[in-house]
């Protein structure tokens, strides 16, 4: 594949297919439905023989539990949803986190809370990064800024999900999913061949059984188990946190933004540089684990940090926590709308 | 082979129930299910705290026909084993 004009929804689907996705199990919700519709139309595509199952579930609750079944059986499964649906999936994600079951969820962030709007927002940040489900459950969260990166992050997301046996969320929004961009289609390889040894699919010739539980009869067992999960998360944080820092070396003001907001911030940076201000952009690519180490490395240089996001200031809290009380950190929140360059620079 | 099978089906072949009392919860269903009345709940208690089932006939061959009714109604698994009198397990 060479350069192609692709819309976000189809690109995400294509990336999943190239990564070897086997099942799409979901429930329609604006603004994510185009992803589902694309995957529905892709059934039987001879280019992707691994893709064998598409099912529209009766609710997001049913969908996430189907993802759990497919993931528990060691197969690549995904869905796309928006905030409301993700709220319903929280129970399932919490179970998957403990049972160490991998699957991929694309959250196409819309206005919220409640029904909100069907227009883009970044207000699910807190939900997906801090506590995606009760009891301290988590997921790895990746945030693409455009169509091309969305494709790479879908592939990377599946890889991370299966390497670490953990649910992965791609946090995107209604803009990225609906926009068209010319993309140098990335080389994406299927994430696995065959099923992993821990898969629950019948003992077959394995001899011993695989049991994925989420309940424990005794808090000592739970404690030991959770300590293992914490160690796993630390490994993930050490190895997988990723970010991009453009023109940060000499910057006096650094915008901190993720996803589509980073594109707007980049425009602002360009404009400021044009006017002679040394501006830069720090763009977290993994929102969880948050690239705190890299961000902390920018402390003590008198840089003015401006966190811009399409919510009331959710990532701002994380940035403030990492940089500490003495750094200059401002928040540009935008609730219920899109940040435009004029509001930013 | 055929002669042996016939032998197993005559009343002359005696059977008995080998019991592992440690897992029994004393529900008593097997006692009530045995058509020959071969079982009873013990006066003693096992480590789970229940009056466990025991074979009524100590050291003698009882009227067990090997019907396995006790085995079928029992909600546990590791308690009852139906064996030929003096023989090994099945």
């Amino acid at each position: 594949m060479t350069a192609e004009l692709l819309r976000g929804a189809e690109a995400i689907g294509l990336a999943a297919l190239m990564s070897g996705v086997e099942a799409y199990l979901g429930y329609p919700i604006t603004p994510s439905s185009e992803i589902m519709e694309f995957m529905a139309s892709e059934q039987g595509d001879p280019r992707f023989p691994r893709y064998r199952a598409f099912l529209q579930a009766s609710s997001e609750v049913e969908a996430v539990n189907m993802l759990m079944g497919a993931g528990a059986a060691g197969h690549l499964a995904m869905t796309a949803t928006s905030g409301l649906g993700l709220s319903l999936m929280a129970e399932g994600i919490s179970h998957a986190y403990v049972a160490e079951i991998p699957f991929l969820i694309v959250d196409v962030n819309r206005g919220g809370p409640g029904l909100g709007t069907t227009e883009p927002e970044q207000s699910d940040y807190l939900f997906v990064t801090r506590s995606l489900g009760h009891g301290g459950s988590r997921a790895i969260v990746l945030a693409p800024e455009g169509v091309g990166e969305a494709m790479e992050l879908v592939n990377r997301g599946f890889r991370l999900a299966f390497d670490y046996r953990i649910p992965v969320v791609i946090l995107t929004d209604a803009i990225v999913v609906h926009m068209w961009e010319t993309v140098d289609a990335p080389e994406l390889r299927p994430v696995q061949d065959g099923v992993p040894p821990w898969a629950v699919r019948g003992k077959r010739d394995r001899g011993t059984r695989n049991a994925l539980t989420t309940g424990f009869l005794d808090s000592r067992e739970l404690k030991a188990f959770k300590e293992g999960l914490e160690r796993k998360w630390r490994r993930i944080s050490e190895r997988e946190a990723s970010y991009e820092c453009r023109m940060c070396d000499d910057a006096e003001v650094i915008y901190v933004a993720f996803g589509i907001s980073a594109r707007v911030a980049a425009e602002a940076v360009r404009e400021l540089r044009g006017r002679g201000t040394a501006a830069g952009l720090f763009r977290p690519i993994t929102l969880a684990p948050f690239p705190s180490g890299a961000l902390a490395g920018l402390r003590g240089k008198g840089i003015r940090f401006v966190v811009m996001e399409m919510n009331e200031g959710q990532m701002y809290r994380d940035v403030r926590e990492v940089l500490g009380p003495d750094e200059g950190v401002e928040s540009i929140p935008m609730m219920g709308g899109i940040i435009t360059r004029s509001e930013v620079s | 082979m055929a002669a042996g099978t016939v032998e197993a089906r005559t009343a002359r072949a005696k059977w008995e129930v080998i019991i592992d009392p440690g897992k029994c919860k004393g529900c008593g269903i097997c006692v009530a299910a045995c058509p020959m009345g071969n079982l009873r709940l013990s006066e003693a208690i096992n480590s789970l705290g229940y009056h466990y089932v025991e074979w009524k006939y100590e050291g003698e061959v009882g009227p067990c026909t090997g019907c396995t009714a006790c085995y079928w109604v029992c909600p546990e698994y590791s308690i009852l084993e139906i064996v030929r009198s003096g023989g090994e397990g099945l």
Binding site: V61, V200 | K23, A32, V73, E76, Y77, G89
Partner: protein, 268 residues
């Protein structure tokens, strides 16, 4: 000596030497035994996947030596669907309580049944939420006292018990829908209580049929009406009598759907 075998009692799929996790007198242990035997008899033990539910049935995995994955409360049919879509020759089953299947999980159960993706659901109906201490369940009968209906279930407030078999036979998807009483009926013989193996053996045949339906590509659902003598505050014999005399009036045994004619009555 040991050559003549009347009836094999060893069941490979059950861990030997473990007491079950169920109360004395509960039939769930029996159900698990029947399931294990049936899977072995059908030669599919190595392809079996147990999906865990929430309730007393959830502890079954401690006794049952098959691949296992825990589902959240009520969601087992959805988890089973996910497994079957990617591993079609796995033989999946779940034992749901009446709460798991008909309260929180009703939607998942209905859609799984409606789609007809091959899987087997056993519902142990003991008219209560057993594990959590005896609260009202969707199948609690009118007037029955539970911890959340201390004055008896009030139909005006809480509705009537749900008839799972009738509900599931109203849709086209399922291949085998059956209800049976799993509790043995107490019979009085010369003033003493006697139990026959009739219910257990009939249940075994039904369990075999349920798995046969799945192997033929259908969705099977079996409701077994059983006791919860502890939460009903009854003795073992009294609770068996209650099921047969009272419970069976609301949940009469019967064959509600049999697309493959597994019970020999032709297509039902």
């Amino acid at each position: 000596m040991g050559a003549e075998v009347r009836q094999a009692t060893r069941i490979g799929l059950l861990y030997d030497g473990k007491a079950s996790t169920f109360c004395p007198g509960c039939e769930q242990g029996l159900l698990l035994k029947l399931i294990a035997r049936a899977l072995e008899e059908l030669g599919v033990a190595d392809r079996a996947v147990t999906v865990g539910t929430v309730g007393c049935s959830s502890l079954g995995y401690l006794l049952f030596d098959s691949d296992f994955v825990q589902a959240p409360h009520g969601r087992a049919p959805a988890v089973m669907a996910g497994i079957k879509l990617v591993e079609p020759d796995a033989v999946v089953f779940a034992v749901q309580g009446d709460g798991d299947a008909l309260s929180i999980g009703l939607q998942e159960l209905l859609y799984a049944a409606d789609r007809g993706i091959p899987m087997t659901v056993f519902m142990y109906n003991n008219m209560t939420f057993g594990m959590t201490g005896g609260q009202m369940a969707p199948t609690t009968i009118p007037g029955m006292r539970t911890t959340t209906t201390p004055r008896g279930r009030d139909v005006k407030l809480s509705g009537s018990p749900i008839d799972a078999c009738r509900l599931l036979s109203a849709i086209d998807g399922p291949a085998y829908v059956r209800r049976a009483i799993l509790a043995p009926r107490p019979l009085r013989v010369k003033g003493k209580i006697f139990y026959s193996t009739r219910e257990a053996l009939e249940a075994y045949r039904i369990v075999l049929n349920a798995f046969r339906a799945q192997l033929k590509g259908g969705f099977s659902f079996v409701e077994f009406v059983g006791t919860c003598n502890v939460n009903w505050r009854m003795g073992v014999d009294e609770s068996k009598a209650f099921v047969h005399e009272v419970g069976a009036k609301y949940f009469p045994p019967g064959l509600c759907r049999d697309v493959y004619g597994l019970e020999g009555r032709g297509k039902v």
